[in-house]
């Protein structure tokens, strides 16, 4: 498979995040919220770790990432530029992959300023480095997964708001399934399945510093599924 088209589209998408104010607003809001979550516990317990920040990341990302991806295909369909994109010599997969890589790179840019938290933690104490590295790896995987889901939601509609709501809902459900109070309500036979399907368990085991290939496989499969679904929807609904 040729990836040149994807890389060009990725660069273009990454740039166009910064053409509009949305990117700056999303980054600012994300930093304010995550800064609050971080410092909230930082001074309280005298622990040098980033738990507060990573703990809630699946929920913060459930809102912020679909907001970034909502326009990716919905806007193209709304304005008609989708017809131009699909008559350039790129396959649908290349286009989807390009937008996905662009969104994932943006998540990386969004996370970069939070390294400041890690540095401040390292200055005042001697944190365990494993959970921090694991946390960022998990955060990137989680961000990429939600970006793929958000893109999938964006392929169904011309309306960005609908894409946002569907995307947020899907990411939220995947997160909620894994919470303990949710699991208590489930029939015990289903708990194992639901727990496997949920992002929370996989994310938190990576975030604790335990990088298990099964968790990575889980994230990669959700990404692959969502991207393949996007290609299918875009090819079927013209």
């Amino acid at each position: 498979m040729k990836l040149d088209g994807s890389l060009i589209i990725m660069k273009k998408e990454l740039r166009s995040y910064f053409y509009s104010p949305v990117a700056y607003i999303v980054i600012a809001a994300f930093l304010v919220l995550s800064g609050y979550l971080f410092f909230d516990t930082f001074f309280l317990f005298g622990r040098s770790e980033l738990r507060g920040f990573f703990e809630l990341l699946p929920i913060t990302f459930s809102i912020f990432i679909p907001a970034l991806t909502m326009r990716l295909f919905a806007e193209e369909k709304h304005s008609g530029s989708f017809e131009i994109l699909m008559t350039l010599p790129v396959t649908t997969l290349e286009a989807v992959l390009g937008k996905f890589l662009g969104a994932t790179a943006f998540v990386g840019i969004m996370l970069a300023p939070t390294l400041f938290y890690a540095i401040s933690v390292a200055l005042v104490g001697s944190p365990d480095i494993g959970p921090i590295v694991g946390g960022y790896l998990g955060a990137l995987l989680l961000g990429a997964t939600f970006a793929a889901i958000g893109i999938f939601a964006s392929t169904f509609t011309k309306n960005q708001i609908i894409a946002l709501i569907v995307g947020v809902l899907a990411c939220f459900l995947l997160t909620l399934f894994g919470l303990d109070r949710f699991k208590m309500l489930m029939p015990s036979a289903l708990v194992g399945v639901v727990e496997y399907l949920s992002v929370s368990g996989h994310f938190h085991s990576i975030e604790r510093g335990v990088v298990d290939s099964r968790d990575i496989v889980y994230f990669l499969s959700v990404i692959a599924l969502a991207l393949m679904g996007s290609v299918h929807v875009l090819d079927e609904r013209r």
Binding site: I9, R15, Y19, E83, I84, M86, P89, V90, T91, R238
Partner: protein
């Protein structure tokens, strides 16, 4: 260059394109003409591999569109209707992006962008947002986008719609200039556009081909003939029609409405014969009074109306 065989596309119950076949030769400007909703855009979308046909085949160059859509897209430059470009990009960045996707090497791309900007008259807007441009400029950016890789085939959907008369002339000149070297297909519902720019015209109506010939053949063709408008008094239309039908060279006569209460008629004739002298003599012999007689060559407009059934479904 392009061969289309038995192409069909349905949207639910609506048959948008119904079993059409045509061939487009290299180096011609072909106009796809038809009323709104005739199936022009759908046809072009199938040529450019945006839509997959329900039946039939499209061959572009050496490639079968259903087998090699990417190769087909490579040799085609396509501008969809109303140029839906990324509004938040700067013209230069946009052309750069398309140039990269079109695999123009990075060393030659700046030169190529400058060239195409000159051809399309974009020099002074290169660093403006596409969304801030006027419709005319946007259309020109669209043309530049479609031509940046110097494609063998250029497909333009309603390239002049929404432009003012000066811009229309400019865009037509650009198209004619390109048409000297390339194969161009454009769709339009404006007849004068076809007469002004196209070598060849394919008239589409309700998803079917109503006519396919050179523009000249269609306007001067033997079977189109002339039309004589006649206004007479002192005779009922029935009597007049019977008498005129008997004259040599008359192919048909139709009643027309007249505001002054005279008997009015349109006499259709072959191109070869001029029936005006015999009509005059007939009227004089019978003692009727002739108010007006005017002969017109059937224009593309008349032919179009006739072929697309009088535009009855246009409203």
């Amino acid at each position: 260059m392009i061969t289309v065989n038995n192409l069909t596309k349905r949207f639910g119950d609506l048959v948008a394109v119904n079993d059409i076949s045509f061939a487009i030769r290299k180096g011609e400007i072909t106009g796809l003409l038809g009323p709104n909703g005739a199936g022009k855009t759908t046809t072009l979308r199938m040529l450019t591999c945006y839509l997959a046909p329900d039946a039939g085949s499209v061959v572009v160059g050496d490639y079968l569109a259903s087998m090699n859509p990417i190769e087909v897209r490579r040799i085609i430059g396509y501008l969809p209707e109303s140029a839906p470009l990324y509004a938040d990009m700067i013209v230069y960045d946009y052309l750069w992006y398309v140039g990269q996707i079109r695999e123009i090497p990075a060393e030659t791309l700046p030169t190529r962008i400058r060239e195409i900007a000159n051809v399309c008259g974009l020099a002074e807007v290169m660093h403006k947002n596409i969304g801030d441009l006027s419709k005319g400029y946007k259309q020109r950016v669209g043309l530049a986008h479609a031509m940046i890789h110097d494609p063998e085939i250029l497909i333009l959907d309603e390239p002049t719609s929404g432009l003012d008369p000066n811009q229309i002339v400019e865009i037509r000149n650009v198209i004619k200039e390109i048409g000297k070297r390339k194969t161009v297909i454009l769709s339009t519902h404006i007849l004068s556009e076809v007469e002004a720019t196209c070598d060849r015209v394919i008239i589409i109506d309700r998803g079917k081909i109503a006519a396919d010939s050179t523009t000249r053949e269609l306007t001067e063709g033997g079977d189109t003939g002339n039309s004589v408008t006649l206004r007479v008094s002192g005779v009922e239309f029935g009597t007049l029609a019977d008498a005129i039908r008997r004259l040599d060279g008359v192919s048909d006569i139709r009643e027309a409405v007249d505001r002054e209460g005279l008997t009015a008629a349109n006499v259709l004739t072959g191109t070869a014969s001029d029936v005006r002298p015999s009509i005059f003599r007939l009227i004089a012999d019978k003692g009727w009074t002739l108010y007006e007689m005017k002969q017109e060559q059937q224009t593309l407009e008349n032919i179009f109306r006739k072929l697309t059934r009088g535009g009855e479904h246009e409203a």
